[in-house]
Amino acid sequence: MSPTVAIIQLPGSNCERETARAIEMAGGSARIVRWNEPPARLVDFGAYVIPGGFSYQDRIRAGAVAARLPVLDVIAQRAREGAPVLGICNGAQVLVETGLVPGFHEGALEVVLAPNRMPGRDGYYTRWVLLGEGPASGRCLFTRDLNARILPIPMAHGEGRFWTRDPAVAQRLASHVALTYRTPAGDPAVDFPWNPNGSLESAAGITNEKGNVLALMPHPERAVLRAQVPDSLTGRTEGGGADGPPESAGPGLLLFRSLVEVLCTR
């Protein structure tokens, strides 16, 4: 039995149950932990996932209030010790607001998840996107089994554009991109809609130097079964988990399997 994964339920999280189920489908065990449990109870978990949702109603900026809670101090410390930490959508926004990613300078906020930049429209947007490797895929423990596959995964957010104003950070950021938005031809997507928010470096997910923390905007927990993937995307993604019978594993399960595999070997 692998160590249990803590799914952190913040006020306004709404994806904790399907995230726990995804980890269980991948062979792991998960427990939903509320944000206000005593921090000392959190240290024994093997890994941490901050799920999607709208923590604190996205007040001020998405993830800004949650990132300053005591529970995030514990997670930051465990991340420094090497524990795997995954933030999905709102969880990614929280991780960026803690400075854990990209983490060039400890404690500094070097990037922001800015409002989507979309031609002729503003605000929340949702669609299926295609994800492929980034320069950091090999060292990120969630994506190291990707092996050039393209994964169809849904995205759903209003503030998902990885962005920085610091040219030096922008230059270094490419080396921390673990997942990129792709076009149907398999190339890194620069333009809308396949890059749905205008992210720098086509980044859908950014990791830290060690590769144990991943801030990922799309939702892999919503694509853990082949039946969840639209038929229009099958055939374009050979080996990505979008083919096969409806009850077979979907493309999103790959990330959770990688996490469980890491926990089992520790």
Binding site: Y56, Q57, R59, I60, R61, A64, V65, A67, R68, L69, L72, A76, E97, T98, G99, G107, A108, L109, E110, V111, V112, A114, P115, G120, R121, D122, G123, W163, T164, R165, D166
Partner: protein, 191 residues
């Protein structure tokens, strides 16, 4: 034709949950405690373009009908424009003692296209900008100290340093005791 600038400050009719959450987070998580007495938030829209006074009125009517900039069921809009009667509402800056106000805005965000009511005027060079006016009231400290505390609370530099404005996303500046119109579209910022 002269350039006309109009400010619209949008204020919730009831208590502002965002301001209350920001106040609680600054007090508890960032250590400002009870010395931070109060916090207010105003959304500021600023329209500027080549228009005569009467045309400004027509634009405001279109915006009121459009309903995209404020919801009259839950928000009040204070319009400050040449010739607008509601300019009598005066300054949106708190005039009691101990307040510090900061204005934040994203200079790269193109808001012209999503505001449908403005389409007839866009082709003629009208621009619209959106910002947030944060006002913080401090209990103790001289003006220099209050200014220092406000900057620490407003400008986000780390997970435990600042909250209200992310410098990779927004520009921010302290608003002094005077509040000339325009704030966001002043000539020196047009560059």
């Amino acid at each position: 034709m002269s350039t006309a600038t109009t400010q619209i400050l949008v204020v919730l009719r009831n208590a502002d949950p965002t301001a209350l959450t920001a106040l609680a987070s600054l007090r508890r998580s960032l250590g400002f405690g009870k010395n931070l007495l109060d916090l207010r938030r105003r959304v500021l829209w600023e329209l500027s373009g080549p228009a005569e006074g009467a045309e400004v009125g027509a634009i405001l009517d279109a915006l009121r009908r459009g309903g995209q900039m404020w919801n009259p069921n839950k928000e009040r809009a204070l319009v400050r424009a040449p010739g607008e009667p509601s300019s009598k509402l005066g300054s949106p800056l708190p005039d009691e003692d101990g307040w510090e106000s900061w204005l934040a805005w994203d200079p790269t965000r193109d808001l012209d296209r999503p505001i449908r009511a403005l389409r007839p005027w866009r082709a003629r060079g009208f621009r619209i900008r959106r910002g947030t006016l944060w006002s913080l009231q401090w209990g103790e400290g001289d003006p220099a100290e209050r200014r220092r505390l406000s900057e620490r609370a407003v400008i986000t530099r780390g997970a435990r340093e600042g909250l209200l404005v992310h410098p990779h996303l927004e520009d921010a500046r302290r608003i002094g005791s005077t509040d000339p119109i325009p704030w966001l579209s002043s000539p020196e910022r047009e560059g």
